[in-house]
C-alpha cells in the first residue's frame, strides 16, 4: 500500500474529487493547509522592495491505495488539477505498511 499525498489548489478540489470518483477512487482524506512552493516563494513587487510571500491556502488530499493504483491516480490528479501556472501543486508517494479498518477487524498489510 502507498500513501498518495497531493497538494493542490483549493479551487480544483471539486474537479479532482470528481475525476477520481469517476474512475472509482473514492476514499480520501482532505486537509486545509497553507504552503509555499519551491520557486523561492512568490515575489510581490512592493514599492521597490521585493516581498517574498509564502503560505498560500492549499488543499491536501491523502489517499492510501494499492501499489498498482498509484500511477493511474497520479495521472488523474495531474490531469484534473493542472492549470499550467505556478501553484498547481505537488504529489508525494510514500510507503504504508498496514491499513486497518476501525468498524471491522479488516486489515491489509505490506505490499499490495
Amino acid at each position: 500500500m502507498k500513501k498518495i499525498n497531493a497538494i493542490i489548489r483549493p479551487e480544483m478540489l471539486n474537479d479532482v474529487k470528481a475525476a477520481l470518483a469517476e474512475k472509482g477512487y473514492f476514499a480520501m482524506t482532505v486537509y486545509e493547509v497553507k504552503g509555499r512552493g519551491s520557486q523561492k516563494g512568490i515575489c510581490l513587487q512592493y514599492r521597490g522592495k521585493k516581498i517574498e510571500v509564502d503560505m498560500i491556502p492549499k488543499v491536501e488530499i491523502d489517499m492510501v491505495v494499492k501499489d498498482a493504483d498509484v500511477r493511474p491516480i497520479i495521472d488523474i490528479i495531474r490531469k484534473s488539477a493542472r492549470t499550467g501556472k505556478f501553484g498547481d501543486g505537488r504529489i508525494f508517494v510514500s510507503p504504508v505498511e498496514l491499513v486497518a479498518a476501525i468498524r471491522t477487524d479488516d486489515e491489509i498489510s505490506e505490499e499490495q
Binding site: R9, P10, E11, M12, L13, N14, D15, K34, I42, C43, L44, Q45, V53, M55, I56, P57, T83, K85, F86, G87
Partner: protein, 398 residues
Amino acid sequence: MSLNTGDTAFVLICTAMVMLMTPGVGLFYGGMVRNKNVISMIAMSFIAFAIVTIQWVIAGYSLAFGSDISGFIGSLEHFGLNNIGLEGDSIPDLLFMAFQLVFAGVTLAILTSGVAERIKLSSFIVLGLLWTTFVYDPLAHWAWGGGWASQLGALDFAGGTVVHISSGFGALALAMVIGKRTGFGKFSFEAENISLTLIGGALLWFGWFAFNAGSALGANGLAVNAFVVTNISAASGAITWMLASWAKGKPSSLGMISGAIAGLVAITPACGYVGPLSAIFIGAFAGVLCYKMLLFRVKKGLDESLDAWAIHGMGGLWGALATGIFASSAIGGVDGLIYGNTYQFLVQTLDAGIAISYAFLVTYILAQIVDKTMGLRVTETEEYVGLDISQHGESMKA
C-alpha cells in the same frame, strides 16, 4: 417647525443602524469569497465607508442636495457642510446630512461585489471616490435633491434606484472592465465562510429597517408602514428563493439569505407607497426573479462575482417598476398602475431606464480611466496569493 425629539431620536438611531449595514455588506460578501480574500472583502467595506464619509462632508452632500443645477446636479453651496446647521424642520439639517451619508457609504460597499478577489486596493480607493462623486451623487440629486426625476414625479422612497440600481449595474460594468477572476469557469469558487455571510445578512436585515423606515425622516405612520412592508418583503423573498432553488436541488442557506436581500432591495423604493399584501407579492417575485437572474448571469459566464447585479441591480429595477404598479394613494399619496395611474408606471420605467444606463455607462468609463492610468487589477501573482496578503499583508490564521 421646530425640532421634534421623537423624530430626531428615530433618525439618529436609524443613521447608526444604516452605518452598521456597511460592515454588514463586508461580512456578507466576505463569507462568499475564498479564505485568502476574506479580510480584503471586509476591509473594503470599511474603507468605502471612510472615504465616502470624507467625500460627502466635503463635497458629496452639496452635489446631491445643493440647489439644483439644470436638474442634473446640486451646487457647491454646502461645500464643507457650509450652512448645514443644527436647526431644521422636525430634525436638524445636519442629521439629514448624516442619514444621507450612510446611504452613500453602503452603496459603495455593495459595488465591491463586482471586483471581488482581484481589485488593487489603491485603485479601489481612487475609483470609489470617483464613483461616489460621478455616479452616486448625481443619482441622489435626481431622486431626492430636486433633480429631474423628482421633478417628473418618479418615486424612490428609500433608494431602490439611487442605491441598488446604481450599485448593481455599476458592479456589472466594473466586472466587465476588470475581467474575470483567474480560473473563473474552470475553478469552482465556493463560499468558504457561510457563517460570516449569515452574520452579515442578519446585520443587513436589521439595518434595512432603519434604511427604509428612517427614510420617512420621522417616527410616524409612514415609517411604520415602511418598516412593516420591509420585513414582509424580506421574509417573502427568502421563502420564494428557497423554494425556487429547492425545486432544482437543495435549499441552500445562501439562497435563503440572498432571497431575503432580494426582497429587501425590491421593497426599498416602494416601502412608503405600498401596503403589506403588495409587499408579500413584491418580495415573493423578487426572490424568484433575482434567483433566475443569478442563474442567467452564471450561464452567460459573467463574473459579476457576488451577484450585486442580479440582486441589487435587477431587484432594484423590479422594485422601481413595482412601485409604479402597486403604489396606493392611501399610503403614500400616489397611485400606481393597478389603481389606473399609467403615468406613474411610465415615469418609473423611464427613471429606472435612465438610471441603469447612466450608472452602467459612467461606471464603465470611470473604470476604464482608472484601469488605463493606474491599473484596476492586481497582478496574477497577487491574485494567486490572495488580496489579504498582497494588498493588506495579513491573513487569516497560521
